[in-house]
């Protein structure tokens, strides 16, 4: 194991890998400061560029961009009160008040330092979990993988916050899209309508590019104006003081990083939940809770440390079980396949060096992204002033190039733009593109493992195998708790309104 740990480090220390990491981090920061674009879009657009790269360089490029996008989003959250990504929502609440008090530099320093510490913590959790995972994954057979995929699908309910019905429909449509192409069991062409291109199934990268990059830019264009409507809060003094702050509040960093790691390890829950929960925890446990929201240092430390700790932890289900820990890791699964790697137990048994390499990349990217981000904080935030009417055609063009380059098929461009239009209207009418992606990604895994499990263990494997039964109970518990929480919230809101 120590050999794999060392080999993993060496894989990311090659000149090629380091160069790609810096390049990825720079691009990720640019994506992060543009609201609407996040690490997910960065991954979607950059994924075609990894063809022909060594795994070390490819993951340095992609994960560098993904990790950096989160910190990039913090820059606009603090300076402009605009969360660059959904992961930075809670950073706005105390980060921007600090900036308005003339402490923008301090807030940026806190964010940078907390992000780096959180990132290293998440990786530490991942590293500690690997020996345990080696034992656990050997217990997981197709029936258990099927049940875990179902568990992942229940998160559609969690993500359907606006409209449960529309969220579930989005997820079911995503699942249906996963059935397009040749049936892996019978070879029957399903939903291909005579198209040879569709025999291989719907191209995930084209769908992601369409839904996120093209759909989001169409929305920005229609809404008009620039991304940023706030005046830029300049003045970045006090950075060093800010960098020191998380070390003074080390116990809060530790607690919030643990929250981020725990939430990140649960498939599909995502960092958005993590940063809000961590902020809530800080507000509940620190002194003078009423002053949160007015520029509390702890209000920046909490969400930022949880944000990046989830990155390492999200890789636990992704690497060990092949189940995406979140939207970003769902796209990252595509990168594994491009590189000829099968996410799942083999990443712990056969490719442990690559797993450790990923771990090192996340830890080092968290630190480097914070340093680069601090150096370019103010110039980067000016990107948000680029008018949407100019930004939209540029990003849409990059999306077209990315979609084509994913497999070199012109049909990908039509798929991407079709899903771009679909994504635009889904956003407008309250459907969830995140649920659609989760359905599409997990659909293939669900079907393949379902058929194999039925063949191996019969129709009753749901409750005859102990681990499958455990997951069945977990699925029911999640659905019941979710329904109970919604009912309680509705009653509370009803009570408040009354």
């Amino acid at each position: 194991m120590f050999e794999a740990l060392l080999h993993g480090l060496l894989m990311m220390l090659t000149p090629e890998a380091l160069l790609y990491q810096i390049f990825g981090i720079s691009l990720g920061l640019v994506f992060g400061v543009i609201p609407g674009l996040s690490g997910i879009q960065a991954l979607a657009i950059l994924i075609p560029f990894i063809y022909g790269l060594e795994p070390g360089a490819a993951f340095s490029f992609l994960l560098g961009a993904n990790v950096a996008a989160t910190f990039g989003g913090s820059i606009t959250a603090i300076l402009l009160n605009i969360p660059g990504t959904a992961l930075n929502i809670a950073t706005c609440w105390d980060g921007h008040p600090l900036a308005r008090q003339g402490r923008a530099g301090e807030a940026l320093g806190i964010a940078a330092s907390s992000s780096a510490l959180g990132g290293v913590f998440g990786v530490f959790v991942l590293a500690l979990s690997i020996p345990i995972l080696q034992v656990i994954v050997s217990l997981f057979q197709t029936s258990e993988l099927f049940m875990i995929s179902l568990l992942g699908l229940t998160l559609i309910v969690t993500l359907s916050s606006k409209s449960m019905l529309k969220g579930i429909v989005s997820g079911l449509l995503g699942l249906s899209l996963a059935f397009v192409g040749e049936d892996p069991m019978t070879g029957w062409a399903r939903y291909t309508f005579g198209s040879v291109y569709l025999l291989d199934g719907i191209n995930l990268i084209a769908v992601v590019t369409g839904l996120y990059a093209i759909g989001e830019m169409a929305k920005l264009f229609v809404e008009g104006g620039a991304v940023s409507k706030e005046k830029l809060a300049t003045g970045v003094r006090g950075v060093w003081k800010g960098i020191q702050s998380p070390f003074k509040h080390w116990f809060l960093v530790l607690r919030c990083s643990a929250i981020g790691a725990l939430i990140g390890a649960c498939p599909g829950v995502g960092g958005t939940v993590a940063n809000v929960v961590a902020y809530g925890h800080a507000a509940q446990t620190e002194k003078d809770p009423d002053s949160f929201g007015t520029g509390r240092v702890e209000g920046v430390i909490a969400p930022e440390s949880s944000n990046n700790s989830k990155d390492g932890a999200q890789m636990i289900p992704t690497l060990a079980l092949g189940i995406p820990g979140g939207e970003g890791t769902a796209i990252l699964l595509g990168a594994f396949l491009i590189l000829g790697l099968q996410p799942g137990p083999s990443m712990i048994t056969e490719h442990l060096n690559i797993t450790f390499s990923i771990m090192w990349i996340i830890a080092i990217s968290s630190i480097v992204a914070s340093i680069i981000g601090l150096l370019f904080a103010v110039p980067l935030s000016k990107i948000t002033a680029v008018p949407g009417r100019l930004l939209a055609p540029l990003i849409i063009s990059f999306g077209a190039i990315g979609a084509f380059a994913s497999t070199g098929a012109i049909e990908n461009i039509f798929v991407a733009f079709g899903f771009g239009i679909l994504g635009f209207y889904m956003r407008r009418f309250g459907y969830s593109e995140a649920c659609l992606i989760i359905g599409l990604v997990l659909g293939t895994i669900v079907e393949r493992n379902y058929h194999i499990a039925i063949n191996l263990y019969g129709n009753n494997f749901f409750y005859t195998r102990p681990i499958s039964l455990f997951f069945l109970i977990a699925i029911i518990a999640i659905l019941v708790i979710s329904a109970w929480r919604r009912t309680t919230e509705r009653q509370t809101h009803g009570g408040v309104q009354a």
Partner: protein
């Protein structure tokens, strides 16, 4: 019933779920199990959505004329751009799209327009085509 864009979108999704379910009926028994398990609830939920659209009155939300205009522009662009690439190829299509859009829609100066257009061409033809030796789509025109 007065048709709003949302109601039309919901009707389209209902149509999609109908296609999902009825196409699956023709599959062999093993191939249609999961498509039907997924498709039938989707169809049911979309029916509920469409029926609730019928039941409730249309919201009296008036969108600004400029937003409606922009929506037509961007949707036309999202339909026209892939067709442009199909005809002119990836590199020329991207360059031509940026040239037309940035100049005519974004109303930028010729300098910004040409820089954007050249940038798009450089990324597709220069980076992918020349640097990464990626086989680019040449379109019906078959130029580059």
């Amino acid at each position: 019933m007065k048709f709003s864009p949302e109601k039309i979108f919901n009707l389209i999704l209902l149509g999609v779920t109908l296609v999902i379910v009825f196409s699956a009926l023709d599959f062999p028994s093993r191939s249609k199990v999961l498509p039907l398990i997924v498709g039938v609830p989707a169809l049911g939920l979309m029916l509920v959505q469409v029926l609730s659209d019928w039941a409730k009155p249309s919201p009296q939300f008036k969108r600004e004329q400029i937003e409606v205009h922009r929506e037509w522009v961007i949707i036309s662009a999202l339909i026209g751009f892939p067709l442009l690439i199909y005809v002119a190829g990836l590199s020329l299509g991207v360059a031509a799209f940026l040239l037309l859009f940035v100049r005519m829609v974004s109303k930028q100066s010729w300098l910004v327009t040409i820089l954007c257009s050249l940038g798009g061409f450089f990324i597709s033809y220069g980076l992918f085509g020349q640097l990464l030796h990626y086989p680019l789509y040449k379109g019906l025109l078959d130029i580059i």
